[in-house]
Structure formats: structure tokens, C-alpha cells
Amino acid sequence: MLTILYFASVRERVGRAAEELALPAGVADVAGLLRHLGERGGAWEGLARIGNLRCAVNQQMVALDSPIADGDELAFFPPVTGG
């Protein structure tokens, strides 16, 4: 099972803050998961095309080609704006 979190403008775009998802067959990295989510259509199709989309795997910021595994916590969000 994957835990997927969505923050800030990305959360508003997909209309969801969090979900649990069984690791889809054939998905081995973040980019693959984005392609899988895009198959839901609607706002999900645009997720992978957000130019500045950031991703964290197990609370570490990573590149979109980073591998993922069952049990991982993923998060998608826009560039950070704290401070």
C-alpha cells in the first residue's frame, strides 16, 4: 500500500488531501505513478504536467525519476514558500 499526500495548490487541483493506493502493477518510480494517476482523467491528467511539481518519498524531497516501493509515503506539492 502507498500513502499519497497532496499539499497546497496541488491538493486543491486534485480535490484530495490524502489517499491509500495499492502499488499499481508495473509502477516502479514516481513518474510511473504520476502516469498511473493521470489515467483517472480530469484534473489528474494535468498532475504530471505541472511544470514545477515537487515530490517527496518518505518525507525526503526527490526527483521524479526516483524509485518507489510498497509501503512508501509519497507527497506531491508545489515549490515551497515558507520563511
Binding site: 499539499f7 495548490s9 506539492f77 515549490p79
Partner: protein, 153 residues
Amino acid sequence: MQVRIQEADFDVGSELAALRRADPRIGALASFVGLVRDVSGGAGVSEMRLEHYPGMTEKALAAIVGEALQRWSLIDALVIHRVGRLLPTDQIVLVAVAAAHRADAFAACEFIMDYLKTRAPFWKRELTAQGSRWVEARDDDDRAAERWRQPGG
């Protein structure tokens, strides 16, 4: 080393006093306080809401402070970042660094702040007369953080 995420305001004087704690090795105490401004991109801001990623935020800040402790000769460091609803003039963030000498304290304080702006998962939403909007990340912040990159780092 201490990292705190909180909705409540903080008192800079008592936080700095606690960080010094009469440690006679400390010869320099540098601090930065970030505040909510009432204008952004030409529009008046009446209110700001700060969202974060609980768990990752603390880890990211601890990693940033940990890197500062490795790169400079520091005695202690403190980061407090507020979340939730904030108003113009409110304090958002405090970074304080204690060292024997000022060069280390100044540099580490600026480094922590620059990395916090680009690596810690906080997002600001501003309320203006035109409605509410997410604050866009600034290229200037990326360039400021880039200055601190080390070969291989």
C-alpha cells in the same frame, strides 16, 4: 539544536536568552525574524495562512540545521516557524545561531534561512481584496540557496 513548528507567537527576547543560557563560550548570537508584510505583488494582503507537511517539515529543518552545524563552528541553533493564520506585522519565523565568533553565526543564520525558503515544506496562501491565492516561489530564493552549494554537495 531545536526546531519548533507552532501556531503560537514567540518572544524573541526570551528565546535568545534561553539559547545563550549564560554559556560563556558563546561570543556571538545572530538572529533573523521574518514578518508578514501587508503587500505582495502590488496587492494588499489582509491575512496569510501557512500550511505545512507535518513530520517532513521537522525533518527538513533538522537536516538544514544539522548541515549548518557541520559547515560552521557553532555552539547551538534554534528555528521556530509558525503555521496557521497570520496577520500583517506578525512574526513568521525565527532563526537564531550561537557561536564563538560572529562570522560563523552570521553565515550559518543566513544559510539556514536560505535553505528553509527552498527546502522546508511550507506553503503560504494570501488573502487580498481580489481573493485568496497561493504565494509563488521566487527565483531569487533559489539563487540565494544556490550560493551555498559546495562541490559534490
